[in-house]
Point group: C2
Chain length 440, copies 2
Amino acid sequence: MNHDSSMVNSYRPGSAALTVRQQDLIDRRERVLGSAYRLFYERPIEIVSGQDVWLFGPDGERYLDAYNNVVSVGHCHPRVVQEIARQSAVLSTHTRYLSELVLDYAERLVATMPAALSQVMFTCTGSEANDLALRIARKHTSATGIIITENAYHGVTDAVSQISPSLGPGVNLGSHVRTVPVPDPSMGADAGAVFAKSVAEAIADLQRHGYQPAALIVDTIFSSDGVMPYVGPMLTAAVDLVRSAGGIFIADEVQAGFARTGDTFWGFQRHNLVPDIVTMGKPMGNGYPVAGVVVQSEVVARFGNESRYFNTFGGNSVAMAAAGSVLDVIENQGLQQNAQAVGIAFAEALRQVQSGDSRIDAIRQAGLFIGVDLVHPGNDRNADRIFASHIVNRMRDNGVLISATGRHGNVLKIRPPLTFSLDHVSVFIHALLASLATAQ
Amino acid sequence: MNHDSSMVNSYRPGSAALTVRQQDLIDRRERVLGSAYRLFYERPIEIVSGQDVWLFGPDGERYLDAYNNVVSVGHCHPRVVQEIARQSAVLSTHTRYLSELVLDYAERLVATMPAALSQVMFTCTGSEANDLALRIARKHTSATGIIITENAYHGVTDAVSQISPSLGPGVNLGSHVRTVPVPDPSMGADAGAVFAKSVAEAIADLQRHGYQPAALIVDTIFSSDGVMPYVGPMLTAAVDLVRSAGGIFIADEVQAGFARTGDTFWGFQRHNLVPDIVTMGKPMGNGYPVAGVVVQSEVVARFGNESRYFNTFGGNSVAMAAAGSVLDVIENQGLQQNAQAVGIAFAEALRQVQSGDSRIDAIRQAGLFIGVDLVHPGNDRNADRIFASHIVNRMRDNGVLISATGRHGNVLKIRPPLTFSLDHVSVFIHALLASLATAQ
């Protein structure tokens, strides 16, 4: 496999000693998997089972999972497992026959959103959801220009890879794409004005090159830009500008959605606005491949009139059962409230670590999504990508899984299942202190 | 929902009387599903469960499924259901950790192919597989031109919708796309020469417009073009031309793959050539969302070097367990051999019906993929789309599910699970005779 300087925390051959078994598995991967695959960690880990917030290796090694947001109600949650097993044995078919399953779930999903967001389309992946959102936006606006954030990630289809600069310089952005920097959330109310100014410039530059703006699309927690959970309506002025220019606003909730941010069920609700399209994926089925688009009915009208859309597996019977059980668990176990409470305590514990370690700069947190900036100590406090990679790997050695993100790769990305408890926070902090101590 | 003249067998409001329950479900769909959704049949059917080749409605109605190729080893096959349930309870995670599951399956998959096709990349849908194949082809060839068949269907992402003319005139083809007609398989060896001539013209036209050819991509059974199972190397000359011009050949096996054609495991093997890329999807997990790309290692090398590719759910633990169990069942139940034997008997039974009904023109069959042309009787024998739609709907009334396809919409598309038996053929023929008798 190739290494990839644009990807934080990717395995690079020769960077650490491996066991015979690890090397054998890596050799097999190099032979039989296409060369675009990447592994995590200096010493990649083998996983054979998972339970709640824990992952287990072949020799019983145990890892605290503080990274995988897909399994947002916990690895192998019994209710989700049971529903997948039950429905798989009864029926697994598509949306061109009538079925209450897809309608029950769709109605339940839109009920979590403002009334204007009334219609659903199901896909299998967040990439497909964003790809479909772009197709809908283009039909609705008769325009093609797209505005994204500087280090955005929206997926891997051809169309959305062109709006995903975080994939690195080997993947071209489209000529119809403009990027805008993400202001520092610590700017408070000013961040919105700064962001709006950048978006205004992007609109003008698109127009100067013959494109009209079709959409502004953002991950509402700006995960790949470094985890930027704004407090207050940072996006409002920018969205107003885009709409005035004939474009729409797409909220990518693949990262922030389904109760992760604690205070709200969807990330866009923290910004106090109503998107034209909302896309979602990863945690929707707790690992079962299901994703989707929720859209205002008039926004999808022209697309629906001129195109049909059929996704063979999208919204299939089992996907709907799995996704329904995820909503059940979030409600029954109070996971939004848990994300809120544990997230605050988690951030507080991190701030105590920060008070004794000048290499930790800002800590940004919303629910159980936390970004921790690591910097060179001293006056300049420049981003320290190498130190972040070191800590991610020492955390792995200490049995805790996280990664790093952001334009400079120096932001620890902490994003555990929503069942994370105060005890798990203690385990995490203990490992973090040990990891920091390896590089004093 | 909108009706869609480009889609054969789509429900059109008002075309038939519905029950209160059907109308209620349709009303709910119109409210909560995006308007690009379509239903099958004049009187859409509600399905609540399935078993092997049978689907069941809410009041115990039973339908013989002669259409759904996704469930290729039968609805709710116990071994697949068990494997999905078992693995879901143990681990469902992604490919950035080491796991034998993905390697075991990948090695098993490439073992079904010629040695040069040695590397796999997993996606969730056939659309994603074809989208990824286009990205790989562009990197490898440094070209962008794509040649497809006249009524091709390759999926619904933005990129592959642009190479899917069967989606109708509301979905634009790319300016870098050229279509070629599919010759009549009854031409025998001449079909290859005719096809090669069309491809040569497409290459020349691309070049005249400033594009170099990146790829020729075909569904190896030409399903949406009307089900065209060639005998012999129809594609060889055309593929040679494309390769001489710097392009590659992509075999889309979403329809033909996984033993459906009976004589071979993959459709491209019937053409006696080795593709540069093979894409697959629908039947791979018997309904579990899993799909993929198999590629020659040197063809994916540049893509892998310049891009990483990560599909969150693609190749996940449960997908691999499901896909592995599908291969088990195909082998253990001899389903390739069954498709071969029952397919021949099925075609023979259809030819007996044809001998007594001049509205049935050609019958084309490979394994359990059968196309039956319906025409106006008389000398011209023009395609009869309305009659085909009538028969599809009468078959539904008689408890058998099929659809229609082809550029003129007059080809009955018969594509049952691979467990179809001679008894099921009898049920089908009985229903067909009754359906034909309703419009003498």
